[in-house]
Symmetry: C3
Subunit: 336 residues, 3 copies
């Protein structure tokens, strides 16, 4: 269930009404009057929630799910355990539609039309820079300093002794203590998620948060998207250089180092003490083990084990990378 500090839910809705509004049809035997209260995921859904099921790989998990309803395809429908069923040709796009129905107002951070919301809480000794904007129900911890012209969105919680740079935007996030966020950082905007159809790219509402643990430092002009359903998480003591990109649902462990201009695609899981060199790119859904080191400019497209040292495009063990560099150089001599 999305965090009610950030997202206003509507509903509940009748299953038949949801079907109509998202262009699906009711599965045979499904109760049209069943009330659905929220979106869920297969693992954690309750009997009030609807999930989507678009991939055979989740058959076993779905069998164990407590979900109240499920949106799926004609082909997969026979695999669905007893619950309400909606049938759609593109369940992911239909689920995006459902998300927009339950959470209609989440496509962008509201503009904050007052400077310091009356119901924001500012801790003792905190300093708010000129032109900074503090949203409704935001909480600024003791001794935290907010830079000039920073924008802190509604419901955002910032811990104690933090330093938030000028011209930053923080939305949909919970920030720990002693966190340093440099100027121009953008945290908590929508992740880059679309259900692509013939008619174009349909936006999937992003209903998660960004969780930034204690002692994190985030360099100038970095961008950290919020999660789709789960959260984007930055572990304790992890440090980002400038212009780093972190996509939605990424989970990063403690005490990692991200050098400038590196980027991590959606849903990656990165362990503790990992070092990511400058301009490294990591494809989506990759796992990187504790203490791994990725050399600058490497492109990672597969899981990396704990302690591995990797370089190249595609990334490979660093000694193999240098062997290949040498072999290729020798080859040009041999060819002459």
């Amino acid at each position: 269930m999305p965090d009610p500090r950030f997202y206003n839910r509507t509903g509940p809705f009748r299953l038949a009404d949801l079907a109509e509004r998202c262009g699906a049809r009711l599965g045979s035997g499904s109760d049209p009057d069943r009330l659905i209260h929220d979106l869920g995921s297969i693992d954690t859904a309750t009997t009030n929630e609807i999930v989507y099921f678009a991939d055979h790989a989740y058959v076993v998990a779905l069998a164990a799910s407590k979900c109240g309803a499920c949106i799926t395809t004609d082909e997969l429908a026979p695999k669905v355990p007893p619950c309400g069923v909606l049938i759609a040709s593109n369940p992911r796009a239909a689920f995006a539609e459902l998300a927009a129905i339950f959470y209609p107002d989440t496509l962008a951070t509201p503009p904050q039309i007052e400077a310091l919301a009356a119901d924001a809480v500012v801790g003792e000794g905190a300093l708010i820079g000129h032109g900074a904007v503090i949203g409704s129900r935001a909480v600024i911890g003791a001794r935290t300093r907010i830079g000039a012209n920073a924008v802190i969105g509604p419901g955002v919680v910032i811990g104690e002794d933090c330093k938030i740079g000028a011209n930053t935007t923080l939305a949909y996030c919970l920030v720990g203590n002693r966190v340093i966020i440099h100027p121009g950082v953008q945290v908590g905007q929508d992740g880059f998620g679309f259900a692509s159809t013939a008619a174009g790219h349909k936006k999937i509402p992003q209903l998660g948060r960004v969780i930034i643990h204690d002692d994190v430092e985030i360099g100038a002009n970095c961008t950290i998207d919020r999660g789709t359903a789960a959260d984007t998480v930055i572990g304790e003591g992890t440090k980002f250089d400038n212009l780093v990109q972190v996509a939605h649902n990424v989970e990063i462990g403690a005490r990692c180092i991200f050098v400038a201009q590196s980027g991590v695609a959606g849903s990656c899981q990165i362990g503790n003490g990992v070092i990511i060199g400058g301009q490294v790119g990591i494809a989506d859904n990759v796992k990187i083990g504790d203490g791994a080191q990725i050399a600058a400019k490497t492109g990672i497209m597969r899981d990396i084990g704990p302690g591995e040292v990797v370089m190249g495009y595609p990334g490979k063990p660093i000694r193999q990378f240098w062997r290949e560099v040498a072999a290729l150089s020798r080859l040009t001599k041999r060819d002459k």
Copy 2:
């Protein structure tokens, strides 16, 4: 002719005066009193406009041009059809000088010294965030929301139902309907154009615009430069992830996807439905056909046909890329 909503033209000027001010000399037989009203390009110039001609490749186009004057080199001067002629050792640098004469005030967005210009138009139901700055003659469409501390430059037109993030800067641009621009995006600054001479890099005035069509989404901290003479164009329904760079005069089609930290150099033409992976770089003047797919981290230096799937540095057909990866790996074994 540059868009008068964004650029204030001076003049007209006598051809002889222009010659003197840009360090050129009058071609033999040219009328020193001929009045020149504006800059033009070879294809579209009128008899009031001056163009530059510095490359043999344009001889045929120039022969058909209606331009009133032309700045060129001694060597190329005999190829110029009947019109006023100026001779310069570096016509591109001299033309940059002329641009600065006709449009003296265009080197940077003015600072916007008032919060909401008296002649700006704000549509019904639009919301302007705290600290946002709306320039003279700007138009904000109905129900569009402008984020806190965003800066909307003079003459900018934004359509209906748009969401403009906090801390963005929009200048010299026309934005369609239902466009989402995330926080920290910079649109419409000068393109990166210089005429390099022994004395240094002379700035070429950038007199175009950025045109953003309906349903475009632009990720946090992206940068989109305005055109030099023509426009930078983003087609309908195209989506940018964070930290993407788009240089001057780039034309991007409809429904494309640009993953984070990709960059497109000047004057590229990108078709419809193209997918550009993360950290891809595309060199200037490249054409990419409809439906092409460029894998993450690829470097493109040549035209890519419709539907091609390309990977590597330099980019090549993706199967060839993986064949080379395998061959290089085998080579290190053979060498042992």
Copy 3:
């Protein structure tokens, strides 16, 4: 000695007190009451200053140093010439602690709690945009324009005829004349410097500045960190495209070109007239000679001589790069 316009020093402190506060012990024969007034570097320290010595390579330089005290390891202590000695297991981390003692207030730019500080100086004909924030003792030169919502930190000096974009943050920097800084640029934040220990990454206070010479242009959303002890320097007439990263202590010569999304790691020295292509990455401590050219996407990990033209990952002479591309392509044919 850090620039007192930007950094407030405390002290002096007794050597024994410093030892206790940074977790070091006094070397045998060192006067516990010796007063230390500041941090220094081996080359330039005075008898009032303390330096750190953690690498045999500096034995000769240290022998000639005028430093008043030195923090080092047990093993290196016998090499220290007569002066106060502190012994620590990790002298770099202990020195970071000392820096935080002498300069306790430097971990982030203060938030600027007023719009235009009473003691700021604004030159004749300068224009300050709406929402811009000008810090204490800042100096804005004649005819310089500051964009809307820009934040100019305390003590910053900007020359004449500059154009500073909207939503920029300038701190700890001195800017020459006719400099153009595009929107969203972040200058002068902390460099990315840590002393890594078992307990995590300990921040090293960054006590230098950014020096930007005349006629420099800096593209949108670039990030330029200030120096650690020395300065980050951008030479006259050098031009940056958008989204470029410059790390702490980098020195860049005159009339260079940096294309978009390139990045330079800490302490690099780059000559005059160097051209750096898009998405190039340069590792730390590299020297690049005058007039060198680095092709787009190249990764540089070694020094590059004057006039060299380099491409690839790792960077190599450009003809060798293309030979290797051809050889690898042939290899896949041979393998079939």
